[in-house]
């Protein structure tokens, strides 16, 4: 297929001037996108740029207030997800929701299982059909297997298989690679390219520029709920895209400043949890940023959870500023001075329906108590102070955090932990799903905190972030620390080597 000719390909879908508001919040002011058959269009934009709302309009989850929406030459107004599926639009989400108790094949054909003469489900035919689908995708997968325990990458492939079985002409992938390892990303891209070459139109959303440049034919950029521009990928540079996204130049992504290292604050000794990780020992000193690198599933988050006491540990000890921490007790960890910014801010970091003030003050609820009763004004004051320090964009302290953009939500999570004035801050994926502008703000903030003597343990799947921020890099592979690299030793090669080649460790 000649990709230079995508502009002449048939228009698969077009949306012009779509607007969507929720109460007083304008989520999308001008949603505009054109997808042509046989192309992969990347959609870039900061968090809060309106990408998710646009995807939800395409998916039929939201109906736009205004705008012209044409799919396959027909004017459309989707009332439901079923409407959009009927028009051949399928959306693959970052984290698919399969039915864990059903087989892979049943998940694909749910609600439209092939029947035999008696009107019962024809399992044999269903499995054969599923197997054919996976063959077309070029990935081996057992259709009879239960969906429980499948990796996110495999679950996405099942969703894609389902989309193909529904004869989807338009595939929307909403940040599919966020939770995938390198190999899994490669496999997904192979599938995406083959679907494109078969004539499908694909909308691909990602915060990772190397993926966008690698995969897409064209790139559409959004900012502040508006369409900005569409470029041919081969004619455009990353710098240009970033400029479109933020409306200004982002000069340095990682403004690393050297901080003076102090005493050891966090000491982890021979920490173990059966079947998850073992023999984890390291220290973090005041003012030091230690990164925990490794592939997804290496056990990094699990180590952090065990340190903080969310999960129980089976072996080893954790010491904060010389004091041993009891196992499985987050409150004790907080009291002794650990803060934990978890990876999933929507589920773990925030109580989405509560206000900014309540969320910020949740970690300090005991501190604000006078004779057992909470001083509401002190609570609000503290929340306001930290929101201002971190420049959280919110109209009032009473606004529910669910109405904030992803970047601002992450700032609220940071605020609620910084308000406890921790000695150690554990940050799991500090910039996942966050826009470029806020990203560098978060990086600057982490550096600043280290500069003030905080010990920081950062878990990150983004190699540039690890290399750019960390004083020291611990690399994990299959539940073990396989390398401890100083800043000057840490290179993409040395980290990836330790993350994949566990057998070679310190022989």
């Amino acid at each position: 297929m000649q990709h230079s000719t995508v502009y002449e390909n048939a228009l698969a879908l077009s949306l012009h001037g779509a607007m969507k508001t929720f109460g007083p919040v304008v989520a999308l002011a001008d949603g505009t996108i054109e997808l042509r058959a046989g192309e992969i269009m990347a959609l870039c934009g900061e968090n809060g740029a309106g990408k998710s709302t646009l995807v939800k309009i395409l998916a039929g989850v939201h109906a736009p207030d205004t705008g012209e929406f044409i799919v396959a030459g027909q004017h459309c107004s989707f009332k439901s997800v079923a409407d959009s599926k009927a028009m051949g639009v399928s959306v693959i989400y970052q984290e698919p929701t399969l039915f864990p108790d059903l087989s892979v094949a049943e998940n694909i054909f749910i609600g439209r299982q092939p029947k035999n003469r008696l009107g019962l489900i024809d399992h044999g035919r269903m499995r054969k059909n599923a197997a054919t689908l996976f063959e077309r995708l070029g990935v081996p997968m057992d259709p009879a297997r239960r969906a429980e325990g499948l990796s996110i990458a495999d679950q996405q492939l099942i969703e894609i298989a389902k989309a193909i079985s529904l004869d989807a002409k338009i595939l929307v992938m909403d940040e599919p690679t966020a939770a995938l390892s390198g190999v899994e990303v490669d496999r997904l891209f192979k599938v995406a390219r083959s679907l494109r070459d078969a004539g499908a139109a694909i909308l691909f959303i990602s915060h990772r520029f190397n993926e966008v440049m690698d995969l897409s034919n064209r790139i559409t950029v959004m900012r502040d709920g508006r369409y900005i521009d569409t470029h041919l990928t081969r004619d455009v540079t990353v710098e240009r895209i970033v400029r479109d996204m933020v409306g200004r130049d982002v000069d340095t992504l990682f403004p690393k400043t050297e901080a003076a290292l102090g005493e050891t604050v966090l000491a982890v000794d021979k920490l173990g949890r059966k079947g998850v990780f073992s023999n984890i020992s390291f220290e973090v000193r005041a003012g030091e940023i230690v990164a925990l690198a490794g592939l997804v599933g290496a056990g990094r988050t699990e180590v952090a959870r065990a340190i903080f006491g969310i999960d129980k540990r089976d072996a080893g000890s954790v010491t904060v500023a010389g004091k041993a921490l009891p196992p499985g007790n987050p409150q004790a960890a907080i009291t002794s001075g650990i803060g934990f910014v978890p990876e999933d801010r929507r589920k773990q970091g925030l109580v989405m329906d509560l206000s900014v003030a309540r969320n910020t003050a949740l970690t300090l609820r005991h501190k604000f108590s006078r004779f057992g009763l909470i001083d509401g004004r002190a609570e609000k004051r503290t929340a306001a102070t930290w929101s201002r320090k971190l420049q959280v964009k919110t109209s009032s302290m009473d606004q529910a955090v669910s109405t904030l953009s992803g970047g601002n939500q992450q700032k609220v999570v940071l605020a609620k932990w910084l308000a406890t004035e921790p000695k150690v801050l554990i940050i799991d994926e500090p910039t996942r799903g966050i826009d470029v502008g806020t990203k560098s703000e978060v990086h600057r903030l982490i550096n600043e905190l280290a500069g003030h003597g905080m010990a920081i343990l950062m878990i990150s799947s983004e190699l540039p972030e690890v290399l750019g921020m960390a004083d020291r890099v611990l690399v994990m592979h299959e539940g073990l620390i396989t390398a401890q690299l100083d800043r000057n030793e840490a290179t993409p090669e040395s980290v990836m080597y330790a993350a994949t080649a566990s057998q070679e460790k310190n022989s």
Binding site: T21, V25, H62, T66, D353, R358, L362, R365, S369, A400
Partner: protein, 356 residues
């Protein structure tokens, strides 16, 4: 979920240019609406029902409402954490039976009451351990104990009824403050209401309950001990239910195994009517207070109008369903109003540009 959450914010400022999003104000919140409905209903009842606006009515109405109000307090906190306790009426029945048997067996009345309370405490601990520490679903556990505790009550007292309680105590249970018609027992009940109100709205513990109701994970990450909080709620529920059972016994001067049976339905209906979300995370004690009084006075008014008990139960059931549906309807209405407004604004803009 997020749609309905955003849709319930005040739409009056939509598209006015300011992005000022405030939470619901005190006079437009769900609990405020309940108070309005209550006031309107009371006025209506006073005007249309001849004997309604008298001290006698006030007295009987409040006496009727006390057990519901008492049990509604811990129930509010439990439902806010996303759990439920269906065994409350059976605990009240069990404590009533224990009180009767102890008294009939010759024990001192105060000792009998203390033991009845203690049995309620044990019942609460039993629920609490299974739900908070073993981790079983509260719906299943308390359906089980609903039958279990009622069964135990029958074992304890059988088909008998104990009625010969000391006159001065039974009289005190339904005595009034001067000529106001307001029962003396309202005072300790108000203390309980204020206690649970402060606990829910003004303490770190209460904050934790809301957080748990919304998101267990997020609550865990800020060091909230979910198990311990829930355990104490069920213990409190057991104790308060037993107190309600004791009050019930003394007020009607009758200890029976079927005392207060079916009361859990009224309590839960009142709590939900008071604006507590059955899904957890939302609700307030003032709202529940209004809900309890509304359901109580509605029942009383119907009874004055000689409506049978069967109809009363039917009405309670309908109110329960209505209170669960109400939030969805109100959010649908505000979404619709917002859409209308937007459409008007757009057509105004269109005419404006046409004129220009």
């Amino acid at each position: 979920m997020s749609e309905s959450a955003t849709a319930t914010v005040d739409t009056s400022q939509a598209l006015s240019g300011t992005q000022d999003v405030r939470g619901p104000r005190w006079y437009t919140g769900r609990d405020a609406i309940m108070v309005y409905i209550l006031v309107v209903f009371l006025l209506y009842a006073m005007i249309t029902i001849p004997r309604f606006a008298t001290p006698v009515t006030t007295g009987f109405l409040l006496l009727d409402v006390i057990p519901t109000l008492l049990i509604a307090m811990p129930m509010t906190l439990i439902i806010i954490t996303g759990e439920i306790d269906l065994s409350v009426a059976s605990i009240a029945g069990l404590s009533s039976a224990v009180l009767g048997v102890m008294w009939a067996g010759g024990a001192n009345i105060w000792v009998s009451m203390a033991i009845a309370l203690f049995v309620g405490l044990l019942a609460g601990i039993f629920n609490g351990v299974l739900i908070a520490f073993v981790g079983l679903p509260s719906l299943a556990v308390t359906i089980g104990t609903l039958a279990l505790f009622r069964g135990l009550a029958l074992v304890v007292i059988g088909d008998n009824a104990v009625a010969n309680f000391p006159k001065e105590i039974t009289a005190f249970a339904s005595s009034k403050i001067g000529t106001t018609g307001i029962p003396v027992m309202v005072i300790p009940v108000l203390v309980v209401v204020v206690f649970f109100g402060l606990l829910l709205h003004k303490t770190a513990f209460g904050r934790g309950l809301y957080a748990m109701g919304y998101s267990k994970d997020a609550a865990h990450f800020v060091g909230i001990n979910e198990g311990r909080s829930k355990f104490w709620l069920y213990v409190a529920s057991g104790l308060v239910s037993a107190s309600a059972g004791i009050f019930w016994t003394l007020r009607y001067t009758s200890a029976r195994s079927d005392n207060a049976s079916g009361l859990e339905l009224t309590v839960i209906a009142a709590v939900l009517l008071g604006g507590v979300s059955i899904f957890g995370g939302k609700g307030s004690v003032p709202g529940v207070l209004a809900g309890v009084l509304l359901i109580g006075s509605l029942n009383y008014a119907l009874r004055l109008g000689r409506v049978s008990d069967v109809v009363l139960v039917t009405v309670t059931g309908l109110l329960l369903i209505a209170s669960v549906i109400a939030p969805s309807i109100s959010s649908a209405i505000s979404t619709w109003r917002h859409d209308q407004k937007l459409r008007r604004q757009l057509s105004d803009e269109a005419t404006a540009t046409a004129v220009n």
